[in-house]
């Protein structure tokens, strides 16, 4: 035991000595530069797992483990962005994590706040080098001071370059999916404004209301007494409005009635066009144009629309998901995003130890597979998704952008 401790200390001293450090950083630089020459995943997600276990196994405080985890994150972000990854998504805090000890939650929140507010102090540097920072998740669960730091950091970096760092802060994927569903439903249940719907009548040259009116007139002509008996409400409404309108409203009311809504037909009739139920009023106001198209049809909801309502909207599809510490499940992270062509990698290394050396084989394997599937597109198990081709033109810029090790 003592021997191994001496050995590790010797090793650390050796690695920290200036020439070795210089050599290692040069080697890393070279490898990252080499990685850039091949295809690179555009969107990588990390589950930073193992901070607590690392702390426990090394006999340090849990909070200290999280700090080391943050260092590892900085290391890996450097590798990712330098090698050409556009979007990195990290799982920083799950909604479930609120159940952990208050001390740890507070420490994590504190850390996030300190990091984010420190970031905000470096506005200049961030503008020049930084990535866009976005915080995904249930921000309403955060304390106000943390939320303020989050908003400030997001605002500051919102105009930055094409690199994006998504921090999933209080996040679970099920919550994300539910929110996406809810938002979609909300979108679809706001009535379309007439301006938006301007081309609607043009596509249906025959006015449904007019047809309905004609039919009504014919039936009225043939069997008037029965008809007035059957819906006395329409005759009561006739006094207040034109006949055309009243028939239509009656039409609408009966439709609502059929659909089993809580609105009785009579209230809709009386309130029609008034301020009582706003959406209903708007709906019946639109009814004069036609029947159904006052809302967007739910049938037009597609996978793409839901994807656009996810928190990761606007980012390229997830190419790779890496989880450290050997736990082989997703734990409610990126369920929607990773379910198609994402390569999921579980590594048996704790997050604070995670470095280029662990990540390199994964990236190389990915590159190998992608270039194989490009050569032989019909091979089974290949990626259907698009492969990064865009990096060619800005490759020169990026070479320039590498840190000048040789200039030292």
């Amino acid at each position: 035991m003592a021997g191994s401790m001496h050995l590790s200390r010797l090793r650390r001293w050796f690695l920290a000595s200036p020439p070795i450090e210089f050599a290692i950083s040069n080697l890393k630089e070279l490898l990252v530069g080499a990685l850039r020459q091949g295809p690179i995943p555009q969107h990588v997600a990390f589950v930073m797992d193992g901070n607590r276990r690392f702390a426990r196994s090394h006999g340090i405080e849990t909070v200290e483990g999280h700090n080391l985890g943050f260092e590892a994150l900085a290391r890996i972000l450097e590798v990712c962005y330098k090698s050409g990854v556009k979007v990195v998504t990290i799982y920083a805090f799950s909604i479930e994590n609120f159940k952990r000890s208050k001390f740890e939650v507070d420490a994590l929140m504190d850390m996030a706040k300190v990091k984010l507010s420190q970031m905000a102090q470096h506005g200049d540097l961030l503008d020049r080098y930084g990535a866009k920072v976005r915080v995904l998740g249930r921000l309403d669960l955060l304390k106000p001071d943390v939320l303020a730091a989050v908003n400030k950091a997001v605002d500051l970096t919102s105009r930055n370059g094409d690199r994006v760092l998504n921090i999933c802060f209080p996040y679970t994927s099920r919550d994300e999916m539910t929110t996406a569903i809810r938002d979609t439903v909300e979108d679809y249940s706001t009535p379309l404004r007439p301006a938006l719907f301007a081309n609607g009548p043009a596509r249906t040259p025959f006015s449904e209301s007019h047809i309905a009116h004609n039919i009504r007139a014919q039936t009225l002509g043939s069997s008037r007494p029965q008809d007035t008996h059957s819906d006395s409400e329409s005759t009561s409404a006739e006094s207040s409005a034109q006949e055309d309108d009243a028939v239509l409203r009656n039409d609408h009311a009966s439709r609502v009635y059929e659909s089993g809504s809580s609105f009785s037909s009579s209230t809709t009739l009386h309130l029609g066009g008034q301020d009582g139920h706003h959406s209903k009023a708007a709906a019946s106001g639109n009814t004069s144009d036609g029947d159904s198209p006052m809302y967007m049809s739910p049938e037009t909801i597609s996978r793409q629309i839901l994807t656009d309502h996810m928190l990761t909207k606007g980012t390229p599809p997830l190419d790779m998901l890496v989880r450290t510490s050997g736990v082989e499940r997703l734990s409610d992270f990126m369920l929607w995003q990773c379910h198609e062509n994402t390569e999921i990698v579980f590594l048996d290394v704790l997050w604070p130890e995670f470095d280029l050396w662990h990540f390199l084989p994964v990236l190389l394997g990915w590159q190998r597979r992608i270039s194989k599937s490009r050569q032989n597109p019909n091979a089974e198990g290949n990626f259907a998704g698009d492969t990064p081709e865009t990096s060619e033109e800005d490759a020169d810029n990026m070479v320039l952008r590498q840190t000048k090790v040789k200039a030292i």
Binding site: R174, I181, S259, I301, L306, H339, R368, E380
Partner: protein, 389 residues
């Protein structure tokens, strides 16, 4: 890479919660690691950065104003990177092939040592020492391109069903992307890209599946008979798919034989189901029957789970309803890819890929083999497989 001394400074700073250094100190600490602002200027839109450059990067950028320096050095560097890329990949390829050969040998040995011999007792013995078994096992299979792909796939499903029944796993779900066995079209995979744009044709693919269930049930029953012998000793089998009625015999709870519930899934049960749910919810909301605030994870969970449990309950047999979330997901493929597997259910599912150790090499680990199945179960239990039972 950050040097050790700077790292120590940063760590001390973190411990003091960020009040040791001020912003300027930190920027000085960072400066050696940042790329030269002069290099960056042409890449950025110059108009926005010019005032800032004069403020932050005074010393370095004023000395060297030329926008493009050392073209030869840049060129050499890019050539060096290209060379390194080639060399790394050659070495990586060699290592991968060696590993692949090693694992192929190991797998053959496992396949010999661990063979089921169609004997339920042997399979039971193989799983006896395990700490835990999945209650609901899920498997991702791929339909291959050969002419008899469908028959092969059905045989794989039957084998898996038999192994699960022997091992005592009560629930098995099988996922195959292309809407399961397209009975009428043996080349399911090759025609698939043409079908993809129309979501409606997915539904027709699912319709084909319905016609396949009886055939599949027949095949599995035959397979079970070859494992268990006489029908009285066979486990009772229930086979169904979402939106389809149950096919099979009701489990007889008095008998000692285990029962197996087999669920067939396809890509339509994945994102498409969530889309369908959203459509229904949107319609309800438009009709004023539901307010968007009512949509909670619990509601969605209940609705999604309903799809897989409903047929069981509707038939009145579901004494122990299907567990909607699988405990273990086995991927028979070269690398771990979900390939459209239903996203909602796999929140806490452990995943295991039989070809995982080969860095995404194709053409390996795709075969559905007993040793792969066993490796997954052993892995789930946190145990190591050894040579010799």
């Amino acid at each position: 890479m950050v040097s050790q001394t700077d790292r120590e400074i940063l760590r001390a700073e973190i411990r003091s919660r960020g009040d040791k250094l001020n912003a300027a100190d930190r920027e000085n600490l960072l400066k050696p690691y940042l790329p030269d602002p002069a290099d960056l200027a042409p890449a950025n839109s110059t108009s926005s950065t010019s005032p800032r450059r004069s403020r932050a990067g005074t010393s370095s950028s004023q000395r060297r104003q030329k926008p493009r320096r050392k073209p030869i050095r840049t060129f050499l560097k890019s050539q060096l990177y290209r060379l390194t890329y080639a060399i790394t990949h050659i070495f990586f390829g060699i290592v991968v092939r060696l590993l692949q050969a090693y694992h192929a040998v190991v797998d053959r040995i496992f396949a010999i040592v661990y063979h089921h011999h169609r004997t339920p007792e042997l399979i039971r013995k193989d799983v006896r020492g395990l700490k835990r078994l999945p209650e609901h096992l899920s498997v991702i299979l791929t339909l291959h391109k050969e002419d008899d792909a469908l028959a092969a796939l059905m045989d794989e499903v039957a084998e898996l069903a038999a192994w699960s029944a022997c091992a005592g796993i009560p629930q098995l779900s099988v996922y195959e992307k292309s809407g399961k066995d397209s009975c009428f079209n043996q080349h399911g995979r090759s025609t698939w890209p043409n079908m993809k744009p129309q979501a409606n044709s997915l539904a027709s693919a699912l319709g084909v599946l319905k016609s396949c269930i009886p055939a599949l049930h027949q095949i599995i029953s035959t397979k079970l008979a070859s494992y268990f012998g006489t029908p009285s000793q066979q486990p009772s089998l229930q086979l169904f798919a979402p939106h389809h009625p149950i096919h099979g015999t009701a489990p007889n709870h008095k008998s000692e034989t285990p029962s197996l519930t087999l669920l067939l899934l396809s890509s339509t049960d994945g994102r498409e189901t969530i889309v369908d749910l959203t459509k229904t919810l949107a319609e309800m909301s438009q009709n004023g029957k539901l307010s968007p605030e009512d949509i909670t994870p619990e509601l969605v969970d209940a609705e999604i789970s309903e799809i897989t449990t409903q047929p069981l309950r509707a038939s009145g047999r579901g004494v122990s309803p299907l567990k909607p979330e699988p405990d273990l997901l086995l991927v028979f493929g070269p690398f771990l890819k979900l390939d459209g597997y239903p996203p909602w259910q796999i929140r806490l599912t452990e995943m295991y890929c039989t070809g995982d150790r080969n860095h995404g090499m194709t053409g390996y680990g795709e075969a559905v083999e007993y040793q792969g199945f066993m490796r997954g179960l052993w892995h789930y239990a946190g145990a190591q497989m050894r040579f010799g039972r």
